[in-house]
Symmetry: C2
Subunit: 476 residues, 2 copies
């Protein structure tokens, strides 16, 4: 029975895409509906999102931001105000043309992002340097009309937070851009156990309408990269388009400097593809809705269930604890909670009770340890921290193994096609080379990392002198 359960998941190395699809379904993270490209986020998937959301929301508030809520719809004329922005987004928005029986005089798009709505509002509420900075954030759903979709990674509708801020100076906006990228990096590394590379996007890959875009990039198990969060310095482009001006400290009228930054439900896809294995999902303890699942053995025997529930109550003081007292067989339960990636499993049966001990099984390593009941209160949090750390270290090791320096283009192509992963290579800064690399290898520039390393003197593509080291990879 145990085996049959696992058989439903395709092996990762056989077909990674199918493995992913199997896991999101079998771990009950999402379900499909008759709405093309949209997903139903099921209780377990949503509980993970709630944990991510509440951790990130706390960080956003600690850094002085306030939450607001902007309308879902954007009139077409408003979207068109900033030229680069509309060019970037027009091809992928959903249009509302009718309200009830009546055809609208002006089409409304369903927000793909909310820069223009914030722009219009900021114009109304900002007048003086005393009104600055304005540090707003919103939690919302957005829609982008994607052709090919996959749960969490690319969906017509997704959930995210989008920060939108206004500052007096270019330098202030720069600091904010860095600050929020750091917040995202912390969330990924410390809570989701996903190591990230911080850097700047190339002109080609930056946000439509931004001065520059900072990004955190992570590497999935299959060697493909995933953009995990972005933070944009918008300069005064939107401020000029929307007339967001303020009287500065010298009494002069100026345009504000803006930033925007976002992190989406996509990050759940990253979590799945960084930590998962052939037995299913692996959820990092700090973000796990249930950190420890108690499975009673021979639960029909007298005293077992009472003992198990008693443990649950006691351990709830140190961890998020669940118990499965259903009449399913223990082996079936083991598989189910392994599939769901619950960090620790506690097994307790009549003999354990007699001996005053239980078994703890780690989801990450599969290791089992016997622990005296009296030590559980300290051992459980310890193990959870160990698992958290171990997941991060394993992911980091994998990333190191899958990061290769390429000096020449032939080598570059060979690495991308045969090994995958990040390729570190010098780039001359020309769009032509970036496009050629993408065309011939399928790899895109992920970022120009803040931590630069001189891995050569010449562009990996054209051979001309090059100053910038870039991370390249095929990406989700």
């Amino acid at each position: 029975m145990a085996k049959e359960f696992v058989k439903d998941v395709t092996a990762m190395d056989e077909d990674f895409a199918q493995w992913y699809t199997d896991v999101v379904k079998k771990a009950e993270l999402v379900d499909y509906s008759s709405v093309r490209g949209s997903m139903i986020i099921r209780p377990y998937g949503y509980a993970i999102w709630e944990n991510i959301k509440s951790a990130l929301d706390a960080k956003i508030k600690e850094t002085g931001h306030e939450n607001v809520y902007m309308p879902l719809f954007i009139p077409e004329s408003l979207l068109q105000r900033e030229k680069d922005h509309i060019e970037g987004f027009a091809p992928e928005v959903a249009w509302v043309t009718h309200g009830g029986e009546e055809e609208l005089a002006e089409r409304l798009c369903v927000r793909p992002t909310s820069e223009v709505l914030f722009g219009e509002h900021y114009k109304n509420i900002i007048h003086s340097y005393r009104d600055l900075p304005k540090l707003y954030n919103q939690w919302a759903n957005v829609v982008r009309w994607e052709k090919t979709t996959r749960p969490f990674l690319r969906t017509l509708e997704f959930l995210w937070q989008e920060g939108h801020t206004c500052h007096e100076t270019d330098e202030d906006a720069h600091e904010e851009t860095v600050r929020m990228l750091d917040v995202y990096a912390e969330l990924c590394e410390e809570l989701l156990a996903i190591p990230v590379v911080k850097g700047q996007k190339t002109e080609k890959e930056k946000f439509a309408g931004a001065k520059y875009t900072y990004t955190i990039e992570s590497l999935m198990h299959d060697g493909k990269a995933l953009q995990s969060g972005t933070s944009h310095h918008l300069g005064d482009g939107f401020a000029k388009a929307f007339g967001i001006q303020f009287t500065d400290r010298e009494g002069k009228l100026q345009h504000v400097q803006q930033t925007s930054w976002g992190l989406t439900t996509r990050i759940i896809g990253a979590m799945i593809m960084v930590h998962g294995d052939d037995r299913g999902l692996v959820v990092p303890p700090r973000m796990a809705p249930t950190q420890l699942m108690i499975v009673p053995i021979a639960q029909h025997k007298e005293g077992v269930l009472d003992f198990a529930y008693d443990l649950k109550e006691k351990l709830s003081a140190v961890a998020r604890v669940g118990i499965d007292a259903s009449d399913k067989k223990p082996g079936w339960k083991f598989n189910e909670y392994e599939m769901k990636g619950i960090p620790l499993r506690l097994e307790v049966g009549p003999r354990d009770i007699e001996n005053g001990q239980v078994i703890l099984a780690r989801r990450d390593s599969g290791e089992k340890v016997t622990v005296p009941v009296g030590e559980l209160q300290t051992k459980v949090p310890e193990l959870l921290e160990e698992i958290q750390k171990n997941l991060f270290e394993k992911a980091k090791e994998h990333r190191e193994e899958m990061t290769t320096i390429a000096a020449g283009f032939e080598e570059f192509k060979k690495v991308v096609s045969e090994k995958g992963g990040f390729v570190k290579a010098m780039w001359c800064g020309e769009l032509a080379c970036e496009e050629k690399i993408k065309e011939e290898t399928g790899a895109t520039s992920r970022c120009m990392p803040f931590e630069q390393e001189k891995v050569g003197d010449t562009c990996v593509c054209c051979g001309k002198p090059a100053e910038k080291m870039v991370y390249w990879a095929k990406a989700y």
Copy 2:
């Protein structure tokens, strides 16, 4: 200066609608945008919503429900599956007809509510009585194409939670319907200090597709009623339309019994109109983002600001405390925080510091008390509780005063047109009488209260024998 500030708000008794509009703007709850009928919920308004949301979410989880997230779009054919439902909602939905450049083969409506999406999903995941009950909830935005809109009360888009549950029996679904109405009533009475009448909607006023609808109705300062939350027993109508069947304990195939229930950002409108006064908003302490605002007096004098910040730190252990150390004049600050309805103001100046005391001013009664610094830790929470209780009592008294029994139709008309408020009157149960009452008085049936009272023997409209006592009122 103080006076000028207040002058911006129209007096309640002069023009209540204008007073409302002034308050939502001046208290910085919302702003308008170029999106017709949609509102921008500003930081202060959103912080109130976050408090309501987190209190209600905790209650929803305590009662065993799990959060999920369903798609924003509903294909037209899916919406049409349940006949009464589509008839009720079709006239007021927004239609997406284009994605990017391409015209869609099938129109998508922006969800006005999500019964059909839950229906489709439940069909997939429910098979046996072991899968029941399914107790789901989602926090989401929904859209209804309203012609006339007002912030919080009626907007094209609003925020809400919608619960959707499936049960084995009619009785189980009934219990759930009652349970969630009670949760709403608790939220309103205990946290928002809004007294409610619990009861059942008439056939005419029930939810499109429901077997019956329970409601909580509250009374605004101007004597108009506001439906504050509804809980629907859906019977097996949606289950039949969507084929949601399960094998029951006897091995027989049955349709599930369903409920749905929702509470929206509208409740903020109720809070404003129940507690507000001519000085602006009054926020009940338990839901107030800031419960106590410290205003330093003569803050340029040595030691005042240090003392004030020190108080802030100490009092933060017992209340949500803010401080305004800006260079605005104290009188201006007093007016601003009165406008925002912050329950308590703490004034502290050089002389107070010398005397080891401060002044606490209550927003509800305007009363000022001098309190020794050493007693603040106990006095502040005490006063906040007193204010909470006082707001509820005042609202309840107002409701009692504004509730009138009407025996005959002439009396009924006179009460509705001259006094307003709730009218308790007997009703024969005929739609014709309900429609006639609405047509001739503008009052609608708010509910048939659970606590019935025999205020007569005959229908207030037609004079035929009547069993049901109904609350009637003009309503928002």
